[in-house]
Symmetry: C2
Subunit: 318 residues, 2 copies
Amino acid sequence: MASGEKTLTVVALGGNAILKPGQEGTARQQIENVNETMRQIGKMVLSDTYKIVVSHGNGPQVGNLMLQNEIAKEEVPSHPLDVCGAESQGFIGYMLSQSLDNVFNQNGRGDIPVATVLTQTLIDEDDPAFEDPSKPVGPFYTEEAAERLREEKDYDMIEDAGRGYRRVVPSPEPLAIVEKEPIRQLLAAHTVVIAAGGGGIPVVREGDKLLGREAVIDKDLASEQLAEDVGAKVLLILTDVESVYLNYNEPDQKPIDRMTVDEANDYIEQGHFARGSMKPKVEAGIKFVESGGKKAVITSLDKVFEALDGETGTTITK
Amino acid sequence: MASGEKTLTVVALGGNAILKPGQEGTARQQIENVNETMRQIGKMVLSDTYKIVVSHGNGPQVGNLMLQNEIAKEEVPSHPLDVCGAESQGFIGYMLSQSLDNVFNQNGRGDIPVATVLTQTLIDEDDPAFEDPSKPVGPFYTEEAAERLREEKDYDMIEDAGRGYRRVVPSPEPLAIVEKEPIRQLLAAHTVVIAAGGGGIPVVREGDKLLGREAVIDKDLASEQLAEDVGAKVLLILTDVESVYLNYNEPDQKPIDRMTVDEANDYIEQGHFARGSMKPKVEAGIKFVESGGKKAVITSLDKVFEALDGETGTTITK
């Protein structure tokens, strides 16, 4: 099948795709989860209908790296958050690449190339998020330790009810994927690409230099930016529920099959979607179709094909 | 200048390019070193004479990750060596990519794309190295801790005179770069690629599956494999000395300007080059020109251009 006929799709994996709630987080567990995920994602490629870029979160993995850094800090110089993010892209990209290689091999299609591209995401130094750090990252601390980090490292710390204190960092808007050109080149040559892991490593442009920043970019918004930057037709956001719901978790919850941008904006205004959870996914979907994307689909891993066909899940169109 | 005229070159960075002896290993120090390195490497690209792939070691970085894993193991599940290697590729690839982006931008050539490709290197499960693990990795342990690791984890441990006990892992031969096809695609599209970090993540093929192994592939031999796999004309191996020497560090030491494969093999047989240091570099050079490469050049970072012109450094030809 000619590549021109394939639908370029950015697939944003949910957290469950790599680490399930309650799991301890050994590499083995994560690899098993990834294998399950990639059997399904691989089918999209093997169907010869989709050309895909896979993006993913990194919350638990970067949290573990930060905890290791904290515990070992007397012996090993601690890394800043941007470096931990880069390390998590290496770890998760390795699992996803290898797992997808294996799915293709097991289906006699070992000829399909797969590549993880380390990704930096451009943000604006003047993003208002820097005035209001709100994204908790890394380990929990005692009140005394939190106070010390405030003084010594100028960290912003908040109390997380009952569980202790945590560092909060800004969550700025993604403006561009720094590696968009190489990613485009790979897609043009029929390679399946893994990119923008954890929302990408946040970098600002200072004069003629890129510099890393300690921040976290929402992975669904970064996936949307990636989809724009590579000219994708579809943005597929995977999560742990089959659809987006009105009145979610209430007796009268109701799945949304389709919504236009206007309807989606109305629902957001009415407060239907949880901040930091479903809301950024719907916002990413809106931004994508407004920027020229054909449709955004939000669903769960097991319903991917039905949802892409419009039989379940939630589809956002202009 | 048409790309056909550029000389495809794999540049294998030495350890000093990222972390200098005696440095503690903060991210900031490493970024400063990398910036210095990349100003020079960037010139190769800006000269419009070379198309390059950059590879690099990861010894100190993966050592620090393993030490963090060990210290934090009660709280965070420890990662196997292949995962630590993947993490180090993310970290180092991030520094190298960003630094090279900045060099290009500062020279008005922000249009040159740069990409770090996470790299797996295929090894043979039956490689004799698995019978004789010899490469020390990670932290030093007491005799008691070493004994415990032997029993609990089946690690091979050796005594490192005076400094304690260390784990040793196999150092098998690289057979192929798993991501060679995407790397080729990027090079064809004029992207500068960073790949095969730390020799690549060692993977074996078991039936129709790739699986990670706890081993370390020599980064110069992996760089040679990469050079073969992408069809490079030149393999440039950077180290901390200007040339390869006969009778190195003896009163009558003598730099070698050029050597043929036969001469190089003779010198190896005569024991001129140190195991784990200059020997694998010369061996990589020999293998490269025997496999059809035009020349291998071994020199220091500051002599790159003179050495490529044959004015200093050591050139190996068939």
